[in-house]
Amino acid sequence: MAAPAQRLSAARQNWHRFSRNPTAVVGAAIVLLVVLAAVFAPLLAPYPGHVGAVVDFRARHHPPSFSHPFGTDNIGRDIFSRVLFGYRVSLSLAAVVLGIAVPFGTVLGLAAGYFGGWSETVIMRATDIALAIPPLVMALAVTAVLSPNLLNAMLAITALWWTWHTRLVYSITRTLRHREYVEAARLIGASRAHILFREILPNCVSAISVKVTLDCGFVILLGASLSFLGLGVQPPTPDLGTMVATGADFLPDDWWEPVMPGLAILFVTLGFNLLGDGLRDLFDVEDVR
């Protein structure tokens, strides 16, 4: 382990490299903006009431204006306010899915890569099977069986998502398991848990964090696709994919109704992707997708 002073300078050096990477900086700025928008939505939204039980049938389909920057929808609600609150759903979706899938997938990947043999065969073959099902199709099938809402869709996505992290951690672990320092730890009698979590895991962190950042974007994208197909949250809670689907019926005249929430989705997925891309250059983990 490095001494504190060295670590500090390493951090400064990282920051220096980070700030000179335009992709990472732009990505980070977008992500920060979206997170702030979601957290402070009640303060920022011009019509916070339009997220709840409010209808205004006289103000339907108003085009973007000063008072409604993104226009109004078919119920007369302010789209901008609903987009801000919609980010809350998107971000919590990503947090829940990755919060469960990443630790789970990491542990399995460590086990498969380090122990090899029987556990490797079972775990890695399971990931192969899971990979053969498109996540969106899986989510649709599972939610059809349970009940069509975003929570069940999240569960379905989670049930597949761990496989990607398992494969990533597995491939790193396999290259590390015969390195000298791991062998040394084993020789001095370190426990398996110590070797897995203190010796090998730290070497996977940069790759995992790049992947998690990229994944945030993809999970949000997938969630939006699912709610676009009709598996959204309970109305009137705003949810970006549902807003696009609802608004699409009013094309081409009321174009802002699908386009504004659609751009909002694009904005956040772009942010996470740019950030992930930048981090990838920064950590020099070329093969993480």
């Binding site: 939610t143 059809a144 772009l270």
Partner: protein, 340 residues
């Protein structure tokens, strides 16, 4: 000989994946709360009618027996009866699969035709404006929700410019049944119906463009990095030293070996491509298996859902098998290191 072994091993592994898939799908479909027979019979059915159908479909048997029946059916290529359309799922999928297959083919063609040249350009002019532009296009392609891209294309090309049709596989005024391969474009050519061919192509363009965006980006990106990798290697320097012209160097020595990673990526991207097809087909009212899938999933038509997921899985496995074989053919080293 060694190629045959590789083939057998790869094939056996595909079978294992498919068997696992069948168990998974069956389990998902059979833990359903509710009564699929009542759903199927429609709201006006009497209890007697429902019980009759339940017995007919074997829904009253124990789970292992239902699975045995399901597998037995699968092995005979029988996916069971659709609760909703009240006929064999095979027929439903056979009728819709061709449309999806045509869309996917067009998508892959577009992705390769656009993606590889972009990647080559980016690698050739590395770190120049071209490279950055390609990178941005690749990222945008990957992060734009395909339903949103589909809508934007509809708005721009369909409503604003009235250039292209925004829904379906062919104009309602044309009566033509693709009765040879099921692929509208190909059958039109085989029947020498060039008007139908042109119409089918026009209908294909927007949906396949919307679907191709993500894959195109990935292909461009991978082509770029693998070309740069190859360019660093000694034999390229040797080729340069021997005075082999740049054109030949790029196409023969650099592009062919760099072809392998994009091909592999195509295999992996295929899952998300099928997934996105569900959304894109819906937006463009494309009468394919994916829109059939969405319809049946929302209606809890279990046999149909199992069928669609199973066929998607088989499709994925087969495409990857084909790609692996192709890669093994192009690059013999892969055969020795074995299946992924």
């Amino acid at each position: 000989m060694e190629f045959v072994f590789f083939l057998i091993r790869r094939l056996a592994w595909s079978l294992v994946v498919l068997a696992g898939l069948s168990v998974l799908i069956f389990l998902i479909a059979r833990v359903v709360p509710g009564d699929p027979a009542r759903l199927a019979m429609g709201p006006r059915a009497s209890d007697v009618q429902v019980a009759q159908l339940r017995a007919e479909m074997g829904l009253d048997r124990p789970l292992p027996e239902q699975y045995a029946r399901y597998i037995g059916g699968l092995l005979h290529g029988d996916l069971g009866r659709s609760l909703l359309s009240r006929r064999s799922v095979n027929d439903d999928i056979r009728e819709t699969f061709a449309a999806t297959f045509e869309l996917v083919l067009a998508t892959i063609t577009l992705a390769v035709l656009i993606g590889i040249p972009l990647g080559v350009a980016a690698a050739t002019w590395k770190d120049a404006t071209v490279d950055n532009a390609v990178r941005l296009v690749a990222i945008l392609g990957a992060v734009t929700p395909s339903f949103f891209l589909a809508l934007l294309l509809q708005i721009l090309a369909g409503y604003e410019l009235h250039m292209l049709p925004t829904t379906g596989r062919m104009a309602p005024s044309i009566s033509f049944v693709p009765d040879i391969t099921g692929l509208m474009t190909l059958d039109a050519l085989l029947h020498l119906r060039f008007d139908v061919f042109a119409d089918a192509l026009r209908h294909l363009l927007l949906p396949s463009l919307a679907l191709a965006a993500a894959t195109t980006g990935q292909i461009a990106r991978i082509t770029r990095s693998s070309m740069i990798d190859v360019a660093r290697q000694d034999f390229i320097d040797a080729a340069r030293a021997f005075g082999i012209p740049a054109r030949v160097r790029i196409w023969k020595y650099m592009l062919r070996p760099s072809f392998v990673p994009p091909l592999t990526i195509l295999g992996l991207e295929f899952a998300s491509l099928i997934g996105n097809a569900f959304v894109v087909e819906l937006v463009f009212a494309w009468p394919g298996m994916a829109s059939y899938g969405v319809r049946t999933i929302l209606q809890k038509d279990l046999n149909a859902v199992m069928g669609v997921v199973m066929v998607s899985g088989v499709f994925f496995v087969l495409v990857n098998l084909a790609i692996d074989v192709l890669v093994g053919f192009v690059d013999p080293r892969i055969r020795i290191t074995g299946a992924r």
